[in-house]
Amino acid sequence: MFNIVSKTYEGPFETLLDMVKDGEIDSEQISVTEIVDEPKLSNVDEGSEFIVDAANLLYLKSQALLPKEDEKDDTPEEVDAKKLLEIYNKMKELAGDLEKKELKQKDVFYREQDMTTVYAEETFKEATLYDLLVAFKSVLTYIPKDEVLSISREGITVRQKINEILDHINAVEKFEFTAFLKEQKTREHIITAFLAILEMIKLGLIACRHNAASNDIFISRKENGDNVR
């Protein structure tokens, strides 16, 4: 603890700081130079403590010197920032509303969703890339990683796979995406088949239909796809 002795104050530096902070002493009444000139420091600990306290005092004094912020026109950035804050707070309130509703809904039970039920008219829609990706991911997790032993040197190219799929599709007309991937022998084949299917969609050779009810993705040949290549 470092004691200071000055015209206006005598006692520990920290107490002085606290009093300035709480507004018990007007910071203008304290001369920093007087205090800074004073110290007879005995060791490093005391010295560092003194520097921290002095810096804090300086900070408080400089704050008192700065002009008080007036309520004047906001700059465009401030308007934006305020607006952002306002929207953000509103969002938070809305999130709170949702949470309350969520809690309430936890006690309301619906009929268990039955994925096997298919409506009289099956609803097919164009499969999105995301649908394919999700299906692809599920297949990858389903297939165990290849054992090291089964790694073959002969790779398979996307082009080969495309031809394979074309043959397959000519034979069966349409097939289910996930099932087809699962039939592949290795991971490499699965990935190549996936890339081949993407490429074929891009080339307009095949169409992808997603059945929302059963979550099946069917691949079929496009009508005008025959004359390509």
């Binding site: 950035e77 401030e78 934006d80 920032a81 607006k83 952002l84 306002e86 929207i87 953000y88 509103k90 969002m91 938070k92 309130e93 809305l94 999130a95 709170g96 509303d97 949702l98 949470e99 509703k101 969520e102 809690l103 309430k104 809904q105 936890k106 006690d107 309301v108 039970f109 619906y110 009929r111 268990e112 969703q113 039955d114 039920t117 999105t128 995301y130």
Partner: protein, 201 residues
């Protein structure tokens, strides 16, 4: 069709359906009734359940109608189906959903610029739980995905439609002539990165 009979049919349809049935879908079955007549029948049915003090009620949710259990029996149902209790959403997920609900369709970047943190993980979770969906791509550089809420979202929170969220309008009012929409809007001038929602430097 006589109204009592129509009500019975509707009750059957609601009973067997595992998702909210819209009036339009009921209409596909009850061909000779108008949508207004069907709505009237559903409302009467609702009232019947109410006055009879049944443990079930017919609720209007996700733009349709569903038969659900009343809250006071929840503890017993939870006892039977221990696995049906799902995890509640995190604060971050709720906030993100609130933003998506208000400003849909919007991109991940627009969500992030508002929340100030990455939305990757949260969006994955919400997508997995089918509370949001991809509604398209924004025609700006990089063609980022646009997100919107789903029917499951409405059902999860027991909402009839998005209009039921009272603060939605307030937020849209603030946003109304907001710089956010125009600067990051669909006009393709901006990738959304330099939106006005960026923190001031």
């Amino acid at each position: 069709m006589e109204i009592t009979f129509a009500k019975a049919v509707i009750e059957c349809l609601l009973f067997v359906s595992d998702e909210p049935l819209e009036i339009s879908r009921l209409k596909l079955v009850l061909e000779d009734m108008s949508e207004a007549e069907i709505r009237k029948a559903v409302t009467e049915l609702q009232l019947d359940y109410e006055t009879a003090g049944r443990p079930l009620c017919i609720t209007e949710v996700a733009e349709g109608f569903s038969i659900v259990t009343r809250e006071q029996y929840a503890s017993f149902i939870k006892k039977l189906f221990k696995t049906r209790v799902t995890h509640r959403l995190s604060k971050a997920a709720l906030e993100t959903l609130a933003i998506v609900a208000c400003k849909q369709p919007l991109t991940k970047l627009e969500i992030e610029s508002l929340r100030g943190v990455s939305a990757d993980g949260v969006l994955d979770t919400l997508y997995e739980r089918e509370l949001i969906r991809i509604v398209g791509r924004k025609e700006v550089i990089g063609r980022p995905l646009l997100y919107g809420t789903t029917k499951e979202f409405l059902q999860y929170f027991g909402l009839k439609d998005l209009m039921e969220l009272p603060r939605l309008e307030e937020i849209n009012e603030v946003l109304g002539n907001g710089t956010w929409q125009t600067k990051n809007g669909m006009n393709g001038e901006n990738t959304g990165v330099q939106g006005s929602f960026e923190q001031p430097k």
